[in-house]
Symmetry: C2
Subunit: 172 residues, 2 copies
């Protein structure tokens, strides 16, 4: 099965992201707006409970973090993706590291650039036009994130949440 | 905000449900296949933490249950919905009652018929045709459910999982 780990921001931020995703994101209907903490990976379903135990420990040993979106940006020319850029901070970086090291280690294909995708697989002209307009827009949104989610992918490509993990709680 | 409480069955059962939902369910892209434990309800976002505390207690005081699908059925003529019929059992009934009584009480619009919807808002001819065929099919699926999820609805009608609750665990 394919699993992934992500953070779902507030409804407010998800609604803003979806206003763009509806037009520009080919995966709009597959998963709600999110910040990926661990790229999709294959794992046998039988190993899920071991993973969950590990993720609970990671969550306990982590702390809530500030998710600050401060501008729109693009991964072009690596991929034709546009996104909300999320401000890096020690708590988020540390959480990402824990979710991609030890038993969860996997060669990362790219540096961690925290973001919320709002468009992908766009043709160049559209991407260029949209990002040109978005770069002129002001966005300054901050919220506290106190949880992350383990998801798995169904055959139709959509994602279902398996479990949520609260950051810094040992009494959840 | 609009909230709801549901159970997501195994990937296997969700994939089977989606094979029908893709063609017959107008809400296919809004939420993964699920068994509704509490119908959508309005609640101020500020009250979410109070609700979560209550749901943790309900989950702790409940136990995992067997989700058994044993036939296909329809709510016609009340609604043009077809579904996988889920066998009632004491644990499931008790959980449903706890999620719809006390502070969570709300006049139920219908008796609790545990089910997984696979088609809705169908025209009569199609419903009649599909249910006629499904009633001839054999389905006999059983699995253990050890969690439920609290979800909220985004502006575009899709649902995001806010938190999962493990049944019968007081050390989660």
């Amino acid at each position: 099965m394919k699993y992934g780990i992500a953070v779902f921001p507030s409804k407010k931020l998800q609604d803003i992201a979806n206003s763009y995703r509806k037009r520009y994101d080919t995966k709009y209907a597959k998963v709600p707006p999110h910040l990926t903490l661990k790229d999709p990976f294959e794992m046998e379903e039988e190993k899920a409970s071991e993973l969950v135990t590990h993720l609970r420990k990671v969550a306990e040993q982590s702390v809530p973090f500030t998710l600050g979106v401060y501008k729109y940006s693009s991964f072009y020319p690596v991929t034709n993706t546009i996104y909300m850029k999320v401000r890096e901070n020690a708590e988020l970086t540390s959480l990402h590291e824990k979710l991609n090291s030890g038993t969860l280690e996997k060669k990362l294909e790219h540096a961690f650039v925290p973001h919320i995708t709002i468009g992908q697989e766009m043709n160049y002209d559209e991407l260029s036009d949209v990002i040109g307009r978005l770069e002129l827009e002001t966005i300054n949104h901050e919220e506290t994130i106190d949880r992350f989610s383990l998801l798995y992918q169904l055959e139709n490509g959509t994602w279902t949440v398996y479990e949520t993990f609260l950051l810094g709680k040992n009494d959840q």
